[in-house]
Symmetry: C2
Subunit: 330 residues, 2 copies
């Protein structure tokens, strides 16, 4: 019944050849006679032979696997990123080894340690880690590509072009005649939150130096969006546009405005960042980030690096696009 799976030596015996020939056929080496190749393939089929991955990676010191370390992402980002990665990986014959990592940097270290020896390289997304913690956590001998993580001179780093995205939206809001834009920032420990807030400040300075720049800090949750807008209203702050650092906060803002009876977009425009599926349903204008594209690019780049064609590490930016919907205008 459960007879042990065929090994390369079984195939060799069955084909009347040596293991070397089998291996050569397996790896598409040259110097193999067509007849021999045929015999080998027949024997492999006859025995249902599948090479043992562990043995192979032991002798080649390659696993054809990529470790992916992602934060405990909620929402659809997770799936998006992974989808893109899987696409790129399977195209090039690699498998994805997945591990989610929680905010704790000790656990990050552990997550990556577990992967050592099982993967040829790592893709790491760690927007919540400090540069030092990150540098500590990455095994020195493993090639790695970072996504949305703190800068690091030794690794390729793929980031969202937050500056470009914010610029698009600020321009859009200003074009719609908005004069008092308030930015709801994400929590300050987060890299993208910080960049978006800075970019907002800069964009305003550049595009509308006379207008006030107001930034209040939230934590990326819809509850925080609701609460920040309530606060603004309670303070009597004047505003005709809310630009949140992500869609969830924008939705919270929308919610509060609707509850209070302030018309959107007539009185106040609302915009977010990310373009979660919900945004389309609620007519929320936002900045779309192609997360699947980022995942795909990251894996491609890592494999290129693994297979030798390695350009120097650099910081690349994935450009987002503007998605104008009902919440910012007619």
């Amino acid at each position: 019944m459960a007879k042990p799976p065929a090994t390369i030596r079984d195939v060799a015996r069955h084909a009347g050849l040596s293991v070397a020939s089998i291996s050569r056929v397996l790896n598409g080496h040259n110097h193999v006679h067509p007849d021999t190749r045929k015999k080998v393939i027949e024997a492999m089929n006859a025995l249902g032979y599948i090479p043992n991955a562990a043995a192979r990676s032991l002798s080649t010191a390659k696993s054809h696997a990529i470790g992916v370390v992602l934060p405990d992402l909620h929402g659809e980002f997770f799936g998006e990123v992974v989808r893109g990665m899987d696409k790129a990986a399977s195209e090039r014959g690699y498998l994805l080894l997945l591990s989610t990592m929680h905010a704790d940097s000790r656990l990050a270290h552990q997550a990556m340690g577990t992967m050592r020896g099982r993967v040829d390289g790592l893709i790491i997304m760690a927007p919540q880690l400090s540069a030092e913690d990150l540098a500590q956590a990455i095994p020195a001998d493993l090639p790695a590509v970072l996504i949305n993580s703190p800068a690091d001179a030794t690794h390729y780093n793929l980031r969202i072009d937050n500056r470009g995205g914010v610029m698009l939206m600020v321009r859009h809001l200003l074009a719609g005649g908005r004069k008092n834009i308030v930015h709801l920032a994400g929590y300050s420990g987060n890299l993208d939150a910080a960049e978006r807030a800075d970019a907002f400040r800069e964009a305003m300075q550049m595009l509308a130096p006379d207008l006030p720049v107001r930034i209040v800090e939230g934590d990326f949750t819809d509850a925080s969006g609701e609460q920040l807008v309530q606060q603004l209203l309670a303070d009597g702050t004047q505003f005709d546009a809310i630009f949140a650092a992500n869609d969830m906060m924008a939705l919270g803002a929308l919610q509060t405005l609707r509850t209070v009876g302030i018309e959107v977009p007539a009185k106040v425009a609302v915009a977010g960042f990310d373009d979660v599926p919900m945004a389309r349903h609620l007519g929320l204008s936002t900045v779309r980030v192609d997360m699947a594209g980022i995942g795909e690019r990251a894996v491609r780049r890592l494999i290129d690096q693994l297979e030798g064609s390695s350009e120097p590490p650099a910081l690349a930016r994935q450009s987002p696009t503007l998605v104008a919907r009902a919440s910012t205008g007619r």
Copy 2:
């Protein structure tokens, strides 16, 4: 600089012991003197030793990895399921090898083949495959646990309790005084779609035998939800409740009703299934499925099986819960 990583023999030499002792310490075997253990641990730390996973799994024929084959899920399910799986896997010291599988059954076969020899077992979610295709695709020698897949006598199968969930919602709608409930079904090839439609029919029969049972078929997309309701209106069908087989279709239905000016829930109640994050924001009543819980359970069960404590294969149902929101009444 890049000196080769330490091997178990290096550690043995450094500690003045044999490789067997190192290995015993590594695997927590008994018959090791405390002093020896200490010496070994010191040597390992001194050399920064990390055991080579490939070598280990070659000699033990265990990889401590679980293959996960998921369909090309869009939306948040993907992340949810994987989060649950990762939790259970990392708790037990396993890693997740991920592969998304597209509808094509040949590709399914390929996806699982790639994993052979690299994983100790498989978790497969294949709601779109036929029972035969599925049976074909799973390597016979690999333990596997199925999620939301066609029945199969040889594997443990974890499914959503569609019947229970539908019953909850139908009861809720009837309790709200609804008399003409229309069920928007998913596309017929899908297992859950079929079960939900059947369950709807049964629930109505059981709870309100006198009321009409109407079912129309869509394809799980919001566009299809919109279109089905338009069709119902065009046909002049009377209805005071829409119960869609998933949230996306329910959202489409909401959209159409809003456009046409039919008040929800005053005139028509709308309910979905899944409880995607959007549902909460739009006040959509729905049936909540704990996908993370399913992922977690599936992995636990697979590991139990791998490690010997194997109950017989069975069909288990994960119970959903009712989430009553604005769309079905106060």
